[in-house]
């Protein structure tokens, strides 16, 4: 935690306490469902262009936290801003500036990739010619060829996930939230998926990603590890390994998530 704060200060040229030059800032963000505290006073910040890994066991509160940051769920208390907009009062402004790929598959299976692009792109206000270029670009990028005319449900899962990621970025958002984007995907496709993430990051986009795969955690610039609604550790993967005396992020994770 302290480690992170110093890190934050060195990068800062903030104008106010919420740090509007940061992509994401969270201060004591909390979500309670009745008596159950799903997310417990989490504080962190994510720099622009950073790949931030949001780790945690099942039920640790990752998805709840992400849903608050994407404007899908109203927090109980705390403060947070995404792309400079408040998660309490400016959810719709946030939505215009972020891309989101949910845990559940989000493309329409009974539409073709082109029709999905037309729909989602259309909602973000892309023009007809823009939509056309995007479609042909995507078909070319993933060498879909004739598969571009197929319905999404007839495509292999790996392709589907990469297409979903691309569609989530159709409107060129500054920040992209990915909720377990590589779940159930084979290692080769996962590798290709991370190439896409790096590509987006190199374009200056901020990536906020949750994952269960600890090898993927190593690809992140910084990670946080959530246990029972709390952020237990945060920092660069190598620093964390050093701090907890482990060889891999996997060991760090196990040590934190299952303390003896």
């Amino acid at each position: 935690m302290n480690n992170d704060n110093t890190n934050m200060n060195t990068n800062m040229n903030t104008t106010n306490s919420l740090g509007y030059d940061k992509a994401i800032v969270s201060e004591n963000l909390t979500k309670k469902f009745g008596r159950f505290t799903a997310v417990d006073t989490i504080s962190f910040s994510v720099d622009k262009g950073e790949i931030f890994g949001f780790l945690g066991a099942n039920g640790a509160g990752k998805t709840t936290a992400m849903r608050m940051l994407t404007g899908l769920l109203l927090p109980t208390s705390g403060r947070a801003s995404v792309a400079g907009f408040d998660v309490f009062t400016q959810t719709e402004e946030i939505k215009r500036n972020i891309g989101y790929m949910s845990q559940k598959f989000s493309l329409y299976e009974d539409l073709t990739i082109g029709e999905n692009i037309d729909f989602y792109g259309g909602i973000y206000g892309l023009g007809r010619s823009e939509l056309k270029t995007k479609t042909s670009e995507m078909i070319e990028k993933f060498s879909l060829g004739d598969a571009g005319r197929k319905l999404i449900k007839d495509l292999p899962l790996g392709w589907k996930q990469m297409l979903a990621f691309s569609v989530a970025m159709i409107h060129n958002p500054q920040i992209v939230f990915l909720d377990e984007p590589t779940g159930g995907v084979d290692p080769i496709t996962r590798r290709r998926f991370w190439d896409l993430i790096y590509e987006a990051s190199s374009q200056g986009k901020t990536i906020f990603v949750t994952t269960h795969y600890m090898d993927e955690a190593e690809y992140c610039g910084r990670v946080s590890i959530m246990v029972d609604g709390l952020i237990e550790a945060m920092g660069r993967p190598n620093d964390l390994k050093l701090q907890y005396g482990c060889d891999s992020m996997n060991d760090v994770f196990v040590k934190l998530a299952r303390p003896e």
């Binding site: 994407t70 404007g71 899908l72 769920l73 109203l74 959810t91 719709e92 939505k95 215009r96 972020i98 989101y100 949910s102 845990q103 559940k104 598959f105 989000s106 493309l107 329409y108 299976e109 009974d110 539409l111 029709e115 037309d118 729909f119 989602y120 259309g122 909602i123 973000y124 206000g125 319905l151 989530a168």
Partner: protein, 373 residues
């Protein structure tokens, strides 16, 4: 506005891909209008009866003749034994027994009032009610002619004319199908609208796309209009399709303005669709919303006045019937199609539906949230 267009386009594309749904939309009205209109008839035909004429006079003979001459009754037996007659009903040989007591003729001309007994099999209550009312009509009619005969009054043409026409109107002049067809059509439009709308949002919930949509800057009203507009169009198309069928098959008269009819249907569909939407936003799975939609549909249907007259329901049920949009729509369709009602005659229904639409639209849009609590 552009967003609405994008959603409508997407919905229609999805619908086009959904072959089963397309079949339902086209086959359902055909089956309903072919089967239900013909089957759901309260027309009385060939009611079997046993005559127990204990009087065996000329007068009692004329009364029996009235029954056979009416065309609604067939005499399947005659007996003097009450026991035999009762067996006829037990063995389903007859639906009704007519007992004319000894001294019938004597009493009539002796200025006493003789009794005639009707025994009706009431296993099917509504059929029994119909048989009873037809039979009493025949007896009353007979009674009047006897009274006039005794009192030597010439047949008062106008007075009697009204009486008789009123009684036989439904069957001789007005085909029962004319009465049923608009009602079935109303059900049809309701089923299609309610079920399509009740599936709409919950389907997106199940496949997970709702999250993706909620995270887009799409406006709430755009989403709802975009979602419901296709079903609204389908509902009106379905009505047009149904109207063509009932015109071609049953030659139902279109007395009133078709434009007025569609105008009212347009309003009615808003009510139905927003109820469906409300179901959809409150449900978590398609099964759940299907079940609720069925539950509501059955109550609406049985209390629509289509199968049992609203007037004969208990007071509290009549109050509930006022809240039943189907009842109003059935009434509107009948009034416009059969009676040629103009705008002023469906005004009351219009305002009820309008109030309904305002409430259900408010509730369903309020219930749908892009940001949950």
């Amino acid at each position: 506005m552009r967003n609405i267009r994008h959603i409508v386009k997407k919905e229609f594309t999805q619908l086009r891909r959904n072959k089963q749904m397309l079949q339902i939309i086209i086959v359902l009205p055909l089956i309903q209008l072919l089967i239900l209109v013909n089957a759901t008839t309260f027309e009385l035909k060939d009611v079997t009866m046993i005559v127990s004429d204990l009087d065996k006079s000329a007068t009692s003979g004329r009364l029996v003749e009235r029954f056979t001459a009416s065309g609604y009754f067939i005499i399947t037996g005659s007996t003097e034994s009450a026991e035999h007659a009762a067996k006829g009903i037990d063995s389903s040989k007859a639906k009704m027994i007519l007992i004319i007591p000894n001294g019938f003729e004597r009493d009539i001309y002796g200025k006493l009032s003789p009794d005639v007994q009707l025994i009706i099999n009431a296993e099917d209550g509504s059929a029994a009610g119909l048989i009873q009312s037809y039979a009493s009509a025949i007896i009353m009619d007979f009674n009047q002619s006897i009274v006039r005969k005794i009192m030597r009054i010439p047949e008062p043409e106008i007075n009697q004319g009204i009486e008789i026409r009123d009684r036989y109107w439904y069957n001789e002049e007005l085909d029962y199908k004319f009465y049923m067809a608009p009602g079935i059509l109303a059900i049809l439009v309701t089923i299609i609208g309610l079920f399509l709308a009740s599936m709409s949002i919950v389907r997106e919930k199940e496949i997970g796309t709702i999250e993706q949509l909620n995270v887009t800057p799409i406006r709430k009203h755009e989403f709802i209009i975009g979602k419901l507009l296709p079903f609204w169009i389908i509902g009106l198309a379905e009505l047009a399709f149904g109207l063509i069928i009932i015109k071609l098959l049953y030659d139902v008269p279109f007395e009133g303005s078709i434009l007025l009819l569609f105008g009212m249907a347009a309003l009615y569909l808003i009510v139905v669709l927003t109820i469906g939407l409300l179901i959809s936003t409150t449900s978590e799975t398609q099964q759940q919303s299907m079940f609720i939609a069925w539950f509501i549909m059955v109550i609406f249907l049985l209390m629509s006045g289509l199968f049992t007259p609203i007037d004969s329901m208990p007071g509290w049920a009549q109050v509930l019937a006022v809240l039943n949009p189907i009842a109003h729509f059935v009434e509107i369709l009948r009034r416009i199609l059969l009676k040629g009602a103009g705008p002023s005659e469906v005004q009351a229904q219009f305002f009820i539906l309008l109030a309904y639409a305002v409430v259900t639209t408010f509730l369903s849009t309020w219930r749908y949230r892009k940001v949950s609590g």
